[in-house]
Symmetry: C2
């Protein structure tokens, strides 16, 4: 098996309750990861797309954050209901889901 | 600040001692991450290159594993002594360090 066609990075970084930065884990990113893992398998993408959990992806205020490489696309505020669209439009169709794309903001 | 010119992913996944898969953490990847963080700052790359720690990058037997996106390059068995070369040749020069590139092997 060659290297992945795409790599999907899901931030599951966790910070203690009350931390002013918050964290993607607090926003439910582990559930997103689990759901995406199932979707990739169901769609037969799991051998082409490598799914990885990460620590902080440096956009804490816009979480949950997901990055798709090698497209260098960062998604902000992803919800479970968005995952089918990300799979269909981006991972299968090759077109990023523009409405979810992270704006050009400073890294946190 | 726009999205990163490159994203460097360092697997720091940890497994308990005795686990047959081993882990990049056991191979010293957290030390690699710390060293790379310093190098990026020293070379003024820290605002162009986003450095992230990840969970498993699925090449456990070849750790420590580092991936560089959007080049879709995976490195195997990276040692601290390799990091200067990765910075100079790849992150500054744009040419992957071929001797460290992961072979086309199945994901683990």
């Amino acid at each position: 098996m060659p290297k992945p066609e795409r790599q999907v990075l899901v931030c599951v970084n966790s910070r203690p309750p009350g931390n002013p930065k918050g964290s993607c884990a607090q926003s439910g990113s582990q559930t997103l990861f689990d759901r995406l893992k199932t979707l990739l398998t169901d769609r037969g993408l799991d051998r082409r797309v490598m799914l990885n959990r990460t620590y902080c992806l440096k956009h804490c205020s816009r979480g949950p954050v997901i990055a798709v490489q090698p497209d260098n696309v960062f998604y902000a505020g992803v919800e479970a209901a968005d995952l089918d669209e990300i799979c269909a439009e981006h991972l299968e169709g090759g077109k990023p889901v523009e409405r979810l794309v992270m704006p050009d903001i400073p890294w946190e």
